[in-house]
């Protein structure tokens, strides 16, 4: 037994030291953290890109746009993924600490889809109606007010937690610059959780990224005004901006990216990286790359 222990110990030591040598010698570490909306996509990028670039050790994490930007401020994150723009306060802190600006790189587009349960009879909704549902005044609280019969009639409303980038974006886009959310909504702490909650709730309504659709839920077509056509969220409608609730997803770096970060970002924006964007249910940047 003691012998066995010794052997195991020595082997473990060898493995660890080998690992250390490997790290110390050539691997450059790049940590990509932030938006929950982007975490699956970033993970996939790193998987594919990393398979061909073994000299770079990528590390991907979520937690929210704010977490990534905060990590960048204290130096633990090299690239911050964000579904919102950096706030003036944050930009100032970064500039002060590093002497460089936080540089945005648009890496994908995201159309925020309005989700309902798959058996919900409603098919389209206007921005004004959304405002009535989500706004502080709550002029719409029942499905019958939207012209459909759902049992129970009360809209079971889902929001995101108030610190998420998706929440802030939806607020600005749907409720307007000075619009306030109603407090009469449940909140989910992730893009995926909100869809999971709607799956099991016939009278639920919520919003989340396009990439999170499952068989248990469906998208509503969105009308900019009561008279304009109802637009389904899709790559085309997000790129030509006819779908009213779409936004750019960004990766922030401190100053111009260099070395491995630059190579990675260039690849992400190339057709190789953008192919994955499409596969994961997001929208590719720019329609100049040939549409399909």
């Amino acid at each position: 037994m003691p012998n066995l222990k010794k052997i195991v110990g020595i082997v473990a030591l060898m493995v660890v030291s080998l690992g250390l040598i490997g790290c110390g010698e050539k691997k450059e570490k790049v940590s990509i953290k932030g938006s929950d909306t982007l975490v699956n996509l970033a993970q996939k990028w790193v998987e594919v890109y990393g398979a061909e670039h073994k000299d770079v050790a990528f590390e991907v994490g979520g937690g929210g746009s704010g977490v990534g930007i905060k990590g960048m401020m204290n130096g633990t994150v090299k690239m911050a993924t964000a579904s919102r723009a950096v706030k003036p306060k944050e930009a100032e802190a970064i500039k002060k600490k590093f002497g460089k600006d936080a540089m945005p790189h648009v890496v994908a587009l995201d159309a925020l889809a309005i989700y309902v349960h798959k058996d919900n009879p409603l098919n389209e909704i206007s921005i004004d109606q959304l405002k009535g549902i989500y706004g502080k005044d709550r002029t719409i609280t029942k499905w019958s007010q939207l012209g459909v019969t759902v049992k129970p009639d009360e809209i079971s409303l889902w929001n995101r937690q108030n610190s998420s980038g998706t929440y802030a974006y939806f607020q600005k886009t749907v409720l307007g610059k000075n619009g306030e959310f109603t407090l009469d909504a449940k909140s989910a702490s992730g893009s995926k959780e909100i869809v999971e909650a709607i799956e099991t709730d016939i009278s639920a309504l919520g919003y989340s990224g396009m990439g999170y659709k499952t068989d248990g839920v469906k998208w509503l077509k969105v009308k900019k005004t009561a008279d304009s056509p109802a637009v389904e969220p899709s790559e085309k409608t997000a790129q030509d901006k006819s779908y009213p609730v779409s936004r750019p997803l960004r990766i922030y770096t401190i100053g111009e990216p260099v070395g491995a970060s630059k190579a990675f970002l260039d690849w992400v924006k190339s057709s190789g990286g953008q192919k994955i964007v499409k596969e994961m249910g997001y929208v590719r940047i720019g329609s100049d790359k040939k549409p399909s």
């Binding site: 937690g63 929210g64 746009s65 704010g66 977490v67 905060k70 706030k87 306060k89 944050e90 129970p152 009360e154 079971s156 937690q161 108030n162 610190s163 998420s164 929440y167 802030a168 607020q171 610059k177 000075n178 306030e180 407090l183 009469d184 909504a185 449940k186 909140s187 989910a188 702490s189 959780e193 999971e196 909650a197 099991t200 709730d201 016939i202 009278s203």
Partner: protein, 314 residues
């Protein structure tokens, strides 16, 4: 070993064997180590106190405490007007905890009595294993069960507009606290000497009378500790309530309303908050509020236990 066998009458000063002598010598060292362990526990608690207070206190300059406790407007990230009113969150925490205890205490103590007094040895062993297994389920899993399994059941069976609500959170929290109540309560009951039971049975008491009139009074403080540990678990729980209660910052009107609890608020918002800002500090202030609630619970428990002890000593 070093002593020559030819010396039959050893020097009295050398009578002590080597090992105990070493122990004697190491005694001060061991004492210091143990003292250090004890002090470090206190030190950690103080350090946590210091840190939480240090982060929270600066906010008192620009926060109206009256509004903080009585307003139900929780809008910490509003760009129009930031509002920090925790009344609804406080109501959320208290209502979910109260409901959880209403379910968990009778069930937990009942199960403890059954396991300790009535179950056959075989049943007892398997029950104990299963209950311990119940305690090992991570809270995220509990939350998921609440959201994905319990919520649709509540919604369709009771016809409420929300499946995730106080009832859901209360049931999930109760299920999470029951294992603690059962195992601590069972220990307390087992600690009652058998002579008590024998004496009661000899006097003609039924099994139920033995439990109600002999065991419960004898094990009172242990059972109370079991209940309080359960309360602590329920108040402090974060992930499960975050998912099962719906996380809606409104004062509830019935147990079918979704609520947002203090712990879940910290968990959901601290990660993305601007460090050093008002929102950040207010979240730490909520931490202090939780401290105070727990302190009151523990203090009440202490007083109650002392009261019980005083009575039984008479």
């Amino acid at each position: 070993m070093s002593q020559a066998p030819t010396q039959p009458a050893p020097d009295p000063r050398r009578r002590k064997p080597v090992v105990p002598m070493l122990l004697d010598k190491s005694e001060p060292f061991v004492q210091t180590m143990i003292r250090l362990c004890g002090w470090s526990a206190i030190l950690f608690v103080l350090a946590i106190f210091f840190f939480v207070f240090k982060e929270a206190l600066p906010v008192l300059n620009d926060l109206d405490l009256g509004e903080f406790f009585t307003s139900d407007q929780w809008r910490p990230t509003s760009e129009v007007k930031e509002q920090f009113g925790i009344f609804a969150l406080l109501a959320g925490t208290l209502s979910v905890t109260a409901l959880a205890m209403l379910i968990a205490v009778p069930l937990g103590l009942g199960a403890a009595v059954y396991v300790s007094e009535f179950a056959s040895p075989k049943v007892k062993e398997s029950l104990k294993i299963i209950i311990e297994l119940l305690a090992a389920i991570p809270s995220v899993v509990w939350g998921f069960i609440g959201m994905a399994v319990l919520a649709p059941i509540i919604k369709t069976q009771l016809g409420t507009s929300d499946g995730v609500n106080i009832l859901n959170g209360g049931i999930i929290l109760a299920l999470m606290s029951i294992p603690i109540i059962v195992s601590v309560g069972e220990d307390a009951l087992r600690a009652v000497p058998d002579s008590y039971r024998e004496a009661a049975i000899a006097l003609g008491a039924s099994r139920w009378e033995v439990v109600a009139k002999v065991l419960f009074p004898a094990a009172k403080s242990g059972l109370l500790a079991a209940v309080l540990l359960g309360v602590g678990r329920a108040i402090g729980e974060t992930m499960a309530v975050l998912m099962a209660t719906g996380h809606k910052p409104m004062t509830p009107g019935s147990i079918f309303d979704p609520v947002q609890t203090l712990t879940a608020t910290i968990a959901a918002e601290l990660g993305e908050v601007f460090q050093g800002g008002t929102h950040y500090r207010v979240l730490f202030l909520i931490g202090i509020v939780l401290f105070v609630i727990t302190f009151i619970v523990n203090l009440t428990a202490d007083i109650v236990v002392k009261g019980i002890k005083g009575k039984t000593n008479e």
